[in-house]
């Protein structure tokens, strides 16, 4: 019982801000007597989440799958291009400015163009997530490939290492901590950009569900979608942070 009490107190101490906002929201809707189309009550949102878990889960699974797949592909691409740029000064001179320019284009502006090119379906959503995840992986891997432990370069030379052995045993492992930073930074935007793409041109997923329910004046469901999306983003960030911590403990 005491254990539960301390846990509850710990929970309150940590999340009193969120609870406060929820209470304020509920109070405000009551006091102003707002229509549920304009502003649903937190309880309505919770009710919709609990009574229709299937529709939330299936759409969340879809968005999450696209985000994860795009994240993996984007990071693989970013890492591969970073390695390519590392091998030659000429290539890095071309690739780094190109990457910078490309990453400066807002995603929202890219979506219509990509949709024309790839079609108004999941392919475009995936492409958006790949583009979003590419850049951090490219930048951080590029930096990581040059962050070698002090003295290790001389060491490998004296030990007569071949360029390939040097790359595999020294350069690539040196980039791992930076790569983990890229993963942590990319995971939440991957989910977010998947949702934005679905919202603008998709035919399924959380983003599409949000747009549809908002258009149908199912404001409680639109809010529910946001709650699920937030939960997924927080989850992705937490997982990536944990993974980063574990790797750093080994690499420091």
């Amino acid at each position: 019982m005491t254990g539960f009490a301390t846990r509850a107190r710990g929970f309150l101490a940590k999340y009193w801000g969120v609870i406060g906002v929820l209470l304020l929201w509920q109070g405000w809707v009551w006091a102003k007597d707002l229509n549920a189309i304009v502003m649903p009550q937190p309880l309505d949102v919770v009710r919709d989440l609990v009574t229709n878990p299937g529709i939330y889960l299936s759409n969340a699974a879809l968005t999450l799958t696209l985000a994860a797949l795009g994240l993996v592909m984007g990071m693989a691409l970013g890492t591969a291009i970073a390695v390519l740029a590392w091998t030659s000064r000429l290539l890095s001179g071309i690739l780094i400015p190109l990457g910078l320019i490309f990453s400066s284009v807002p995603v929202v502006a890219l979506i219509p163009i990509l949709a024309r090119l790839l079609g108004y379906d999941v392919k475009t959503v995936l492409a958006i997530v790949v583009i979003i995840s590419f850049f951090p992986a490219f930048v951080f891997t590029s930096a990581g490939l040059r962050a070698l432990p002090p003295g290790s370069e001389d060491l490998f030379r004296v030990f007569g290492s071949s360029p390939w052995q040097r790359f595999i045993r020294l350069v690539l492992p040196s980039a791992v901590p930076s790569w983990m930073i890229a993963l942590r930074l990319s995971a939440p935007p991957a989910v977010l950009s998947a949702m934005v793409a679905e919202f603008l041109m998709g035919t399924s997923g959380l983003g599409y569900m949000f747009r549809q329910s908002a258009a149908d004046f199912q404001t409680d469901r639109a809010f529910g979608t946001s709650v699920v999306a937030t939960a997924i983003s927080v989850l992705c960030f937490t997982l990536a942070t944990l993974a980063e911590k574990r790797v750093n403990a080994r690499w420091s």
Partner: protein, 256 residues
């Protein structure tokens, strides 16, 4: 000197071109012959070019004048054949590998099968048998240097190069490490070039001490160290040791 010359630094000069185009002579006309199985200490203050000499022997630099050969060959050839062992002041251990894997690294770099018995023996020899599975970050500074020395010796190199291996350690640990190094070295009496700025370290470990001074650096003095091996730490308290230390100190700072 032993009859057979292992390392021959033959009238070597080294000129670096700085970023602004000016030329800087680091060492001038350095002539050093090291016999097979001999332990030579290169003693000098910071910036006298002693590390440059070591880097030339390690095939990390090319001499501007003169020539460095090891057993008649270019140092780069020995490095390609994985016959050089080296330990630097910054231990250069790879943080993501365990102690055991760090010591085994030269095998992997050379594309050879890891001799686990040899790795184990060396870890026992440097007193870290129980730490085989630890990571470098879990070790003290002295322990890391022991790993680094074990790694330098693992392939049974023809030449061992030590660049201030204990330079970052406190005085007490350093003295302790010198005793350890002497014991480790006695196992296999490999030709060794030690670069140091510590008079006591050079005297305690080496068969011969060369003092380098000046800018550009030159060899100012040579001293044979007569103490029989194995050397007990107590020799460092003998009047003979002190007399030689004074002589070397004076050679290091002639103006003082």
């Amino acid at each position: 000197m032993s009859p057979e010359t292992a390392i021959n630094v033959d009238h070597v000069g080294m000129v670096f071109t700085l970023d602004d185009g000016t030329e800087l002579t680091a060492v001038r006309d350095v002539d050093i012959k090291i016999g097979k199985g001999e332990f030579v200490a290169l003693l000098g203050p910071s910036g006298c070019g002693k590390s440059t000499i070591l880097r030339l022997v390690a095939a990390l630099e090319e001499a501007s004048f003169g020539r460095v050969t090891i057993e008649g060959q270019d140092p780069a050839e020995l490095s390609r054949a994985h016959r050089l062992g080296v330990a630097f002041q910054d231990h250069a251990l790879l943080p993501w590998l365990t102690v055991k894997d760090n010591v085994a690294l030269p095998y992997k770099v050379a594309g050879k099968k890891v001799d686990t018995t040899r790795v184990k023996e060396l870890l026992e020899l440097v007193g870290l048998g129980k730490f085989a599975g630890a990571r470098p970050s879990q070790l003290s500074g002295g322990m890391r240097q022991r790993v680094s020395i074990a790694r330098a010796l693992v392939l049974r190199p023809d030449v061992l190069l030590l660049d201030e291996p204990f330079g970052a350690l406190d005085a007490v640990t350093r003295r302790h490490m010198n005793v350890e190094l002497q014991r480790i070295w006695a196992e296999d009496e490999v030709t060794t070039l030690l670069v140091t700025h510590s008079v006591e370290e050079a005297l305690f470990l080496a068969d011969r001490v060369l003092v380098m001074t000046g800018r550009p650096g030159t060899v100012a003095m040579e001293m044979k160290i007569p103490f029989a091996r194995p050397r007990d730490p107590s020799i460092q308290r003998t009047p003979e040791f002190h007399a030689m230390a004074d002589k070397l100190t004076l050679a290091l700072e002639p103006e003082a």
